[in-house]
Amino acid sequence: MRNARPISARYRLAVLSRSVAAVAGGYGVSVLLAVAVAWTMPLSREEASIVATMIALLGLPIVMMACFYARTAFRAWIGLAIAASLLAGLAFAAGWRP
């Protein structure tokens, strides 16, 4: 990505979009991961909260990497949207109300 070609505005925009997807979107998805795990774990409330936190913190860097691994920035956003709705749906089914 760092070669002699001048960097186009389009490319810069795509990188910015991915970075926002990774940081803000990635954090959002891992928050929903925490919520989904917390509500679905068959444990006491405090135990489920702790497990959820640990899993969400492991998930966060993986989701962030996935945003950069995706072929285009647009696909990264689509992936985030799918993951977010799946996790939110799961949590909702388990009784979570935002």
Binding site: A34, R45, I50, A56, P61, I62, M64, M65, Y69
Partner: protein
């Protein structure tokens, strides 16, 4: 992934370098504290005696405070540590003599706790320092994972070191430091994020408890009795018998004493067990009614998820460790710091032949100020501890100020000098500052020929030698490869 590794690493690299070096020193937080307070003799203190003395002193000097927290002197720490809420609502802290409870006989310094606090609070107001440190931990985890992905010839490169070849050597050094202690780096990044999880990832708990964080704390710490003050004055029952009972209940030493509403009829004394030899497997808490001294709640942590969490937390702080474990943490921490430093230098080496605009210049100068400047600023903190007048007003704060002013001066110096000269000169001064640590210890007559002072002297001299070497390399032939 290489691209992500380079940029994610650069953005948090400077912050992580400081956090890693401060964290490495925090491994010997108590020992650095003992070195910085040579007036207090280490370490014959009995935690019950030390705790009682601290409570006695607080009763005289912080009687109106709503809460006291005490870490009694023990076999590692020569002083007791007390923190309480001052009348203005701010926290006040003192390091107390283990026998008399009096802070006046010990010089006013933050000691090793300075590095410990800097490690995760970054001298920023709550909660921003902690949030930033938590984000840095997540970014470090990200940089580690992308680094592993980017580094395809993982094991072949491990046996490769090409010295004196510019960029290639920096890459090899970066790789060797990363791979050798990779399990440590991954562990410390993840557990580091976990220690700040209540700030950066509280959402599982807050959604389950519908935002009632007080209920979360109640469930997490069932033996921490939190009852409001009744505003009826009542003297605190003798503390030593309570501490003795707590010790008996734990079967191990005391780590912390919390006294809520001291001097009130609703006073509560909560004692937490130490982690000696067991990696936080069983965190135990016992609470007493402050006026009668009778136990009112006790808890031995047996819940699996919480034990896992405590285990991971303890893995980060290494408080369970004996001397050997701590030295391993120290060495791995230094490797991590060097790995981050090499990565930062590598970023500029990789791009030196290409664009050299303003962005490049900023990165290069910040690299000098952080990679060479942080060790110098930290060494200056040790020197300030010895050289500032003992009875200086606000001495502890002045030590910190000296360090930050010097850091600022280094940044300006690095921005103005030619880069290579700045590297060489700052590294040379760092070497001199490290060598001066045992010297000032000797000159100020604080030095005792015991293991602590000799170890500090040896480490300082070894670091000085390392910085002399680094300064010579930085000033030697430019290997642009």
């Amino acid at each position: 992934m290489t691209w992500l590794h380079d940029w994610a690493g650069l953005i948090v690299g400077w912050l992580l370098f400081v956090i890693a070096l401060a964290g490495t020193l925090s491994v010997f937080r108590s020992e650095i504290g003992n070195w910085m307070r040579p007036e207090a003799r280490c370490c014959a203190a009995d935690s019950v005696t030390a705790g009682s003395a601290a409570v006695h002193w607080l009763g005289k000097h912080a009687a109106t405070s709503p809460a006291w927290y005490i870490q009694p002197a023990d076999r590692r720490s020569a002083t007791s540590y007390a923190v309480w809420t001052a009348p203005g609502g701010d926290f006040a802290q003192k390091w107390l003599d283990p026998k008399t409870g009096d802070p006046a006989t010990v010089r006013d310094t933050l000691g090793g706790d300075f590095f410990y606090r800097l490690h995760f609070e970054l001298e920023l107001p709550f909660p921003w320092g902690r949030v930033l440190a938590g984000a840095a931990a997540v970014a470090m985890l990200l940089a580690l994972i992308t680094g592993i992905v980017a580094h395809r010839r993982f094991f072949v490169d491990f046996f490769t070191f090409r010295a004196g070849k510019g960029q290639r050597s920096w890459l090899d050094a970066h790789n060797v430091l990363a791979v050798t202690a990779l399990p440590f780096h991954l562990m410390i990044a993840f557990t580091g994020a976990l220690t700040l999880a209540n700030l950066i990832m509280p959402w599982g708990a807050s959604s389950l408890y519908r935002g009632d964080m007080a209920a979360v704390w109640k469930d997490l710490y069932p033996a921490a009795v939190d009852r409001p003050a009744r505003h009826v004055p009542a003297p605190l029952a003798p503390i030593a018998p309570m501490l003795g009972k707590a010790k008996q209940f734990f079967g191990s030493d005391i780590a912390q004493i919390a006294i809520l509403n001291p001097g009130d009829a609703a006073a509560v004394v909560s004692v937490t067990s130490g982690e000696d030899q067991r990696i936080g497997i069983q965190r135990q808490v016992i609470s007493f009614d402050g006026t009668t001294g009778r136990p009112i709640a006790a808890h031995v942590e047996r819940r699996p998820a919480l034990r896992t969490f405590n285990f991971l937390y303890a893995l980060h702080t290494a408080r369970f460790g004996e001397t050997l474990t701590r030295w391993l943490y120290f060495v791995c921490g230094l490797m991590l710091t060097a790995l981050i430093g090499a990565g930062l230098v590598l970023w500029t080496e990789k791009r030196r032949a290409q664009r050299q605009g303003l962005g490049f210049a900023i990165v290069e100068r910040l690299n000098i100020a952080i990679v060479a400047g942080t060790p110098l600023a930290f060494a200056a903190f040790f020197l300030a501890n010895r050289l500032l007048p003992i009875d200086l007003a606000q001495r502890a704060a002045t030590e910190v100020r000296v360090m930050f002013w010097l850091w600022g001066a280094i940044l300006i110096y690095a921005a103005l000098r030619p880069a290579r000269r700045a590297w060489r000169e700052i590294l040379t001064v760092t070497a001199a500052a490290c060598a001066a640590i045992p010297l000032t210890d000797l000159i100020t007559r604080s030095m005792r020929l015991d293991r602590l002072h000799l170890t500090v002297a040896l480490i300082a001299l070894a670091l000085a030698a390392g910085f002399v070497f680094a300064a010579r390399r930085a000033g030697g032939r430019r290997a642009t490869a």
